[in-house]
Symmetry: C2
């Protein structure tokens, strides 16, 4: 269940891993230093010895979480591919990333919502990849009539929505759609194929 960035038995790392687990699951407000200490199997004072405060510890963990998602996004936005291929790759790697770290989007969304200032100032990196090149590429395809007319921004948001949301809303979906844990798993596994098909079908020129 834990997801240490690098397996490492040092006390510092044990603390970081424990903090990672706790912050991910409970967020800044719900996380308690005592619980982190307990999970790391050490004294509470050690937390402050290695990381000065809850705030600092949180920031390190949050940055680590964010930076696990960034390479995939950067990759998608920077590599050159025909549009269809690019979409396919994005959906593939993005769903793959989120399947393996389903807590990332929920964490980002809820923390960013509760403490936007802290998150933007102290957690998000200064340089975040910009989607301008992708937008240009989509616009070219539209202009050339190879896909139907759509605003690039909407296409991007649609892609991201279709990939992320089901994982974010998993508990709610399970109840509404009425699936057991196993059905849910297969359902989410089908998503990759389904999402690609859904987007491609929608983009076919009229």
């Amino acid at each position: 269940m834990s997801n240490p960035v690098q397996p490492n038995d040092s006390t510092e790392q044990k603390i970081f891993d424990a903090a990672h687990e706790v912050f991910i699951q409970k967020g800044m407000d719900g996380a308690k230093m005592q619980e982190i200490a307990d999970r790391a199997g050490i004294n509470k004072a050690l937390l402050h010895y290695y990381y000065r405060s809850k705030e600092k510890l949180y920031e390190m963990v949050a940055r680590a979480i964010i930076s696990r998602a960034l390479p995939v996004i950067r990759d998608f936005l920077e590599t050159e591919h025909p549009l269809e291929e690019k979409i396919r790759l994005f959906v593939h790697f993005y769903i793959d990333l989120i399947s393996r770290n389903p807590y990332i989007p929920i964490f980002v969304i809820s923390e960013m919502n509760k403490h936007p200032d802290r998150f933007i100032e102290n957690v998000l990196p200064k340089e975040i990849p910009k989607p301008d090149a992708f937008f240009r590429q989509v616009q070219e395809e539209v202009d050339a009539g190879r896909i139907r007319s759509i605003k690039p921004q909407h296409l991007l948001v649609n892609m991201v929505s279709l990939c992320i949301f089901p994982f974010v809303a998993k508990p709610m979906l399970r109840i509404v759609v009425g699936m057991n844990s196993q059905e849910m798993r297969t359902f989410l596994e089908e998503r990759e194929t389904e999402v690609v098909r859904f987007i491609m079908a929608s983009l076919k020129p009229d």
Copy 2:
């Protein structure tokens, strides 16, 4: 900014409204009874006079939030319409609901994620609308070849994802896509048209 269910100056209502604001914005963990009391302009002891505990107060507020979304969903799942019309109506009313109450999905998602047991046992109503009829309708359309082949569950999840996610991820999207507050507003206003078009285009039989 506040959103009292029914304007009413009674102390009880003032407390409820204040609690609504605070819980919505900070969730169970981040909300403090003192802040609720302050916003309601009353003594902290009064909170416990009207609502026995933080837990109880939270449950009432959370139930109220949930029940604001339910009628729209129930309506969509129960009324009879041709599929295309149904989708149009769903997107319209759903996006409308969320535009006016953008905090609902974030609240539900993050609270349900942090305290699934409490939420499922004490907040969610026993009877939640089931989408079986909708699934059947989609399947009929597929069988009749009037839309391309797609699993009804995926279609529903896609619809919901496209409607909700942009509102949920607004702060993140703003940064990634690089929009200012005004651009974001127009962008979200375009969503209704865009989402309907996106879904319809995708469903056209091959």
